[in-house]
Symmetry: C2
Subunit: 189 residues, 2 copies
DNA sequence: CATTAAAACTAATGATATTAGTCTTTGAGT
DNA sequence: ACTCAAAGACTAATATCATTAGTTTTAATG
């Protein structure tokens, strides 16, 4: 390695991730990222091909972390239902801990999506869990509904749409419980 | 009125709305909007105070249209369940017909939110519908879960997360049916 | 007919992402 | 030890963007 690299791709991505989470994506310019790292903006192009490339990489990291948390949580508790509830709470907790970057992953407004194939494979263990509740044949539908409910809930919550009072922790648990009861009832063979 | 106005605020907002829906928000600059209207960009500032102001107004229109559709749909069918299903399908249809602007309304990444008070009042008729199914005391929780499921489903769908096959129309109907069955069972008094 | 003010215009500013071209330093090969 | 190739930093420059300031035009009002 000829010149002494002051940064590498991973620290660049991680720095950008933290800045996005801290200040919001609108406030994060390449100059800010570069200054945080102690270099100038054009130098970043030796590590990423564009700002979009950088943000896409940030989304990839966020997604990997999210699913890593879910799998850890999946081993908490006995029985399919308990494990499922643990996953749901882990999902919501992650979104609350990473409100900006979580939202960014599922914001299709720009082309910042990590390769979809990743996501599809990553979700298979969760589908197996759903199969225990709703039967193999309905597991994909049940999984999609669950992901929708989870993602929709935390997104609306973070967007400030759930401000009319009430304990949101309790309400979330109840909504999940209702959905799980529903799929075992309506979908199971 | 002294000078002949070539545009007014409403046509400006509607033009911007169409351009955003057509080309995506990233491609819509004030110059593009202005050129579409046959004037120059700085002239727009006589009708809106900033680009954010304009996009906020676009979101307001989108939200109003969405809820208008929901209320129309709410009178289709007999009984609370049938009317609820009609609302759900209208919601999804709206999102499919306005994928970009729908997504934009619920993208908190910038400060483009229409005043939240609007949204909260607009949703009351829907809550009354939920009260018929889950009881008055649980109607807010049931409503939040429904909105989460609806928003999450269409968002993930539009973000390309539901591409592993299967009939999404059928799956959507089943997921809704499961949730509705769940709340009447788990939440009702 | 003169005045006024709304609404268009042109010109200018500062920030942005990105590209081109230069300089510096280190590690690999002699 | 000495060269040298190239990675990775730099400066300078470009095009585009939102926004502001200042000017001009024109129609309704007196």
């Amino acid at each position: 390695m000829p010149y002494p690299a002051q940064i590498d791709r991973d620290t660049l991505i991680e720095t950008a991730r933290q800045l996005v989470e801290q200040h919001g994506i609108e406030q994060v310019s390449l100059r800010l990222v570069a200054e945080t790292l102690g270099i100038k903006a054009p130098s970043l192009y030796h590590h990423v091909s564009s700002k979009n490339d950088l943000l896409r990489a940030v989304n990839e990291v966020t997604q990997k972390r999210l699913f890593a948390m879910l799998y850890t949580a999946m081993h908490d508790g006995d029985g399919a239902t308990a494990r499922l509830l643990a996953v749901c709470h882990a999902y919501r907790a992650f979104a609350h801990q990473n409100p900006v970057t979580y939202t960014l992953v599922y914001t299709p407004q720009l082309d910042l999506h990590p390769p979809a194939a990743e996501q599809e494979k990553a979700v298979l263990p969760l589908q197996a869990l759903m199969a225990e509740l709703a039967g193999e044949a309905n597991s994909l539908t049940a999984l999609r509904g669950l992901l929708a409910l989870l993602h929709g809930w935390v997104t609306l919550e973070l967007a400030g749409q759930f401000r009319r009072g009430g304990d949101l922790d309790v309400a979330f648990a109840e909504a999940i419980r209702a959905y799980v009861a529903g799929i075992t009832l309506v979908l199971s063979p």
